[in-house]
């Protein structure tokens, strides 16, 4: 009798457990995908129930949300927990969804000159105290900065050293020395910064050996070194099994043979049209360059004639300055009359000048 009741009790307990579990279990066709690090769940099941429910969507949406939330909570409750100050805290795993960063990955900064030197010599930073005892004032003062302990420039008495000029102002000399040190420090800081920014260019990598270069960088550096001879690498010997470097010339891009038929047809028809037209097509840049060159030659011829006659006006310098691209400092040095002449030149037309013209301009001076 007792045995039976015990069995009955056990069976009843099991049934109760199953019932309770039923309340929190949700049946889904496709399992949800969980990203517990982000407290995220994705349900891939197509929402068929919702599609049928027309106006009563809210209740359906809520039921769907309840089911999905129940599943997510079930997952969260299975995580390992700690007890922190009477609160049950679950340890979340790392988030698995990859989301884009907001800023690019920080590039490693190159070492400053001092850091390189220290690394080479094996110098480690020594831990120093913040405050130093200052004898003069009888106080603890900071090591550097405002009201520092041993301030060179604040002494009230300086002995004139034996080999110095007695009329020299030693106080001013000290202040000057401090200013120079500060300026030098600032210059070095800016130089380090400039080097840091230059280092960001990947193409320049490998030209400054650091010892931590990759295979590609070393290869590139080797190729550049090979070509940096007087004969541009023509007579450089190669190692017995070394292959000739391919693809180091200028890259030209050609259209594929069987590419865009429409584009090819269009370009061919355009070419035919240009050839057939009676009017010559004008390439504006080349035309203006030609025009400018002719005008320069005329002026050069005129100037030679004028200089032969012995007349020399300041205005001669004008076109030469403009040809150089009008650097502002040179423009400033010109006399006032040239400003007008420069403006009357070719505003807004750049055009490439041949080197010969430059020479011509210089020779004229």
């Amino acid at each position: 009798m007792e045995g039976q009741s015990v069995e009955e009790l056990l069976a009843k307990a099991e049934r109760d457990e199953a019932e309770k579990l039923q309340r929190i279990t949700v049946h889904k066709e496709l399992e949800l995908e969980f990203d517990l690090g982000n407290l995220l769940a994705s349900d891939r099941n197509p929402p068929t129930g919702l599609r049928h429910a027309g106006p009563t969507q809210e209740a359906e949406l809520r039921a769907l949300a309840r089911d999905n939330t129940q599943l997510l909570i079930n997952q969260l409750w299975q995580l390992p927990t700690d007890r922190v100050e009477e609160a049950l805290v679950a340890r979340l795993p790392e988030p698995t969804t990859r989301l884009p960063r907001e800023k690019p990955v920080p590039r490693p900064r190159p070492l400053t000159r001092w850091q390189q030197f220290a690394r080479l010599k094996g110098i480690r930073p020594k831990k120093k105290t913040n405050l130093v005892w200052d004898e003069g004032t009888g106080q603890w003062r900071r090591r550097w900065g405002y009201q520092r302990a041993r301030d060179d420039t604040k002494e009230w008495l300086i002995e004139v050293p034996g080999n110095a000029d007695p009329m020299e102002d030693q106080f001013a000399k000290r202040i000057q020395a401090k200013k120079e040190r500060v300026a030098k420090n600032e210059l070095n800081r800016l130089r380090n910064l400039a080097r840091a920014h230059k280092m960001q260019l990947p193409s320049a990598a490998g030209m400054h050996p650091t010892g931590h270069q990759s295979k590609e960088e070393l290869g590139r550096a080797m190729l550049v070194a090979k070509v940096s001879t007087a004969s541009v690498g023509r007579f450089q010997e190669r190692l017995p099994k070394e292959k000739a470097p391919r693809g180091s010339g200028k890259k030209r891009k050609f259209q594929p043979l069987f590419g865009d038929f429409a584009a090819e047809k269009k370009s061919q028809l355009e070419m035919l049209r240009i050839m057939n037209s009676k009017k010559p097509q004008l390439d504006v840049t080349r035309a203006t360059n030609k025009q400018m060159r002719e005008e320069d030659q005329e002026e050069a011829a005129k100037r030679r004639k004028m200089s032969q006659k012995g007349k020399r006006k300041g205005g001669r310098q004008g076109p030469g300055g403009k040809r150089k691209g009008g650097p502002p400092s040179q423009g400033g040095k010109r006399k006032g009359g040239l400003g007008g002449k420069m403006n009357s030149g070719r505003p807004g037309l750049s055009g490439k000048r041949k080197g010969g013209q430059h020479q011509g301009g210089k020779r004229r001076k």
């Binding site: 609160a87 884009p100 960063r101 800023k103």
Partner: protein
């Protein structure tokens, strides 16, 4: 222009801390969101922005004035705002006849627009329209995406990623289980996206995991997808790039500068006597020895004893008085 900013040396510690907070880091700060009103913003749109600001506090900035820009045409002013307030997420709301109640949700990479998705608001129920208690601000929400549409098209996938980014809040390693208070549920159905937020009620169930009941709490929106401006694939890939330091490390593998990979194997201690070297018949254990388990010395003696009378060099002996002796000091012969 960036170089110019960096050359400016901060003169106070506070300025230095400010600049350090904004520079790129290995593990980043929590993304801030800026909520901006456009030239013509209807009351719906304004209320939506205010509600989203309430959800995103304290990681959000609500701009009070109207800004007359068009995000899809010119992104310069958005980028300027993002640089000034250091926000990488934004929501821009405006209204016109062609696009009523428009909302542009977007994110930035390196202060340039990465993705922008324009959605129209069809139905909106605000926080203040639903009269019940709300959860404290700054709680981390749970996010649930339902519907197979979210994986079908690229637009929807990016939208899902954008919504996760926008609403997820700070990344934490521990979470107080009783403090999980609200859940944001996105359903994609028939080309619309239903955004609902519910407050969580944990009821007793028989076992450890509680039974969930939901109560509608917060803003509920019905959204329609309009235009999109998505980043190109390589820019998106670049933005997803994780720094090497954060990648899960592989132990016992190293690389050298020539590109060779070295691995390290850890072996257990080997019993060298059982090591199989070249077969030397003389050293083979006789059956008797194997049975008796003869030691190495006994085997050596067995081999050497027949060579009686031969001169055998003793092993080098250590003599404390000896200094720098080249060879063995004495010779012994076995008897």
């Amino acid at each position: 222009m960036d170089a110019l900013y960096r050359v400016v040396k901060p003169k106070t510690k506070r300025a230095k801390r400010f600049l350090e907070k904004r520079e790129p880091k290995l593990s980043e700060n929590i993304k801030n969101a800026m909520l901006i009103k456009g030239g013509n913003a209807s009351s719906t749109v304004t209320q939506v922005l205010r509600d989203v600001y309430a959800l995103k506090k304290p990681y959000g900035v609500l701009y009070k004035k109207k800004n007359i820009t068009r995000p899809f045409e010119d992104q310069a002013s958005l980028e300027f705002f993002s640089k000034k307030s250091d926000c990488s997420l934004f929501m821009f709301g405006f209204h016109n006849k062609k696009r009523p109640n428009n909302l542009v949700i977007g994110r930035m990479y390196d202060y340039h627009v990465l993705d922008m998705i324009e959605v129209g608001i069809e139905k909106f129920v605000s926080l203040k329209d639903i009269k019940n208690s709300k959860c404290p601000e700054g709680t981390k929400p749970m996010l649930i995406f339902a519907g197979d549409d979210f994986d079908v098209t690229e637009d929807y996938r990016r939208l899902k990623s954008l919504l996760i980014d926008f609403f997820r809040g700070p990344t934490v390693s521990n979470v107080h289980l009783a403090g999980l208070e609200y859940v944001l549920h996105f359903t994609a159905l028939n080309g619309k996206i239903y955004f609902r937020s519910y407050k969580l009620l944990l009821k007793k169930s028989g076992c450890r995991t509680p039974l969930i009941e939901l109560e509608e709490m917060g803003p509920s929106l019905d959204l329609v997808l309009r235009r999109t401006h998505l980043a190109s694939d390589d820019l998106y890939k670049l933005s997803l790039k994780m720094p090497k330091a954060l990648k899960p490390k592989k132990k016992n593998v190293s690389h050298d500068t020539f590109g060779t990979t070295y691995g390290r194997i850890h072996m257990q201690k080997q019993d060298l006597s059982k090591l199989q070297t070249r077969k030397m018949k003389g050293l083979k254990k006789r059956p008797a020895e194997r049975k008796a388990g003869a030691s190495l010395v006994a085997q050596w003696l067995r081999v050497r004893l027949p060579m009686q009378g031969n001169r055998v060099c003793a092993p080098v002996r250590e003599d404390p008085a000896c200094r720098g002796a080249a060879g063995p000091i004495s010779e012994m012969s076995t008897t």
